[in-house]
Amino acid sequence: MDEPPRDLPEAAQRRFAQGAFSSGLSVSDFAACLEMGLEPVGLVQGFCAMHWGAFTRTGVMGRGVTPFAGAQGGWVRNYQCPHGMVSAEHRAWGQNYEQTWIEDAWREGFNSAYVRMMEEAQELGAHGVVGVIDTENPLSDTGVMEFHLRGTAVKLLDAPSTAQTPWSTFLAGQRLAKVFEAGYAPVSIVTSVASIRVWAYCVTEYLMEGTGGAWAGAVGTFEVDQIVNAQTKVRDLARARVRATLHGDSLHGANMSVSQREYAKGDLELQSRLSGNRVRRFKDFDPLPVAQPTVRLS
């Protein structure tokens, strides 16, 4: 296996050697950058293509006699059948477990692309990268997931170049200017994912099928604890992970999304993704006056 590319490809080197800057910013964002005294020096990007999809691990679960032991360091919660029934059809145990290998692969893909983008920025002598856009795309039918990050590298006007890793932010334009005015300095973009697999046990199965009442000895509506637990945990994990990378800084403009996939009956996968801007307060907030309300005549 080849070493993952650590150096910039030759085409990128050539591009940087040229005089003109390029910027992925819209004109208004470009104008706002100049206002802030940040000079765009180039569009920077990073990629990582990961082999994807061969790890759903359906085989691990099945209807074994005992629950899956869980991945190293992963979170697990087991559910035991209260009915005391033993039958091949009866789901005697259930489990919510963290799919750490998916989280690890995702982290590796994202971080590699991020590091490469920042390398490009450093190559250009940039102080920061603004307007970062990240996409993760499955490459058609190739079983490959591509992580692609891009942004516009900027230099602080008349400032010496620095050996430090550039700062980065999803924001650009007036929104970034307002972040500075509000007393925050951008530190870096942060993202995290959490992946939880749910293997329903009998109680969950019956409740989801709508036959839970018969077992509980009453007809009516009941909360489905196992799934609520997984849904809550998947969000908690993503938040805790992001919080752990903040080191006391704040997270601004967070975006949380959760997707759900059903592989088979009673076999669910939940994935949450949280991203945002890590920002550091450099001065106290001095509140602006209440903004002037306007009505547009159009």
């Binding site: 590319p5 050539r14 390029s22 104008a31 293509a49 061969a54 490459l139 692609h148 306007t294």
Partner: protein
Amino acid sequence: MSNPNTDLPQATEHRLEELEKGLFTSDLSVNEFLLIKEVGFHPLGFVMGSSIYHTGIQTRKWGQSQELTKLTEAMYNARELAMTRMEEEAAELGADGVVGVRLDVNYYEWGKDAAEFIAVGTAVKAEDGVSRLNQLGKPFTSDLSGQDFWTLRQTGYLPQGLVMGTCVYHIAHRGIGQTLGTTGQNVELPNFTQALYEARELAMTRMQDEATRLGASGIVGVRLEEKSHQWGSHTIEFLALGTAVTKTSDDITLAKPTTIISLDN
């Protein structure tokens, strides 16, 4: 293909003659029209250029990731022809530039492996009579909207030309998959990473070459587009597009924005 600079169709000549009499047509909205007037330009007419191009066939190696240079050339030349014809129309009108340029590709049922490349925009002229032609003596082109054109002028920049670079790339079908099947793990595929990286960088470098030729100091609003056209999912065109700009003034005349809360929905 004959020289595109001299062969505008008859109907076009006629339409342009009418425009020269002082009538202007434009697909600009009222807002864009007013903002363009605000920075001292007057719209002259709606201009376009088109080219129907037959894209040749290039064999792709199933297991290899590579650039398909013939297709790259076809995609590039066809757009360039459409653009040049549009510039030609604009020059005919005595324009300094074209704003709001849109580049489109159409496929028709009657033309297998053929595509129509179209460029449309609004030709504009500076009202102070000073020429704003670009370094090559041609009208500048730009895909900026009227609003963006106004904003850019406030920062002291002037568009020089819509620049683009393209790269058609074939991505290998298999090869690496086999070694992976056994490991059952998620690992990086360095070959894929390299290929995609290379393809996009090539498109961007080519775009930047165009900007350098125009003597531009930079490119704003760069977009990266990925299209499969009609070649199947493993062949992708990476297209980089942006507006090359040069600085004409050091003054930033953009007023400090007022904070407002809009009560409109």
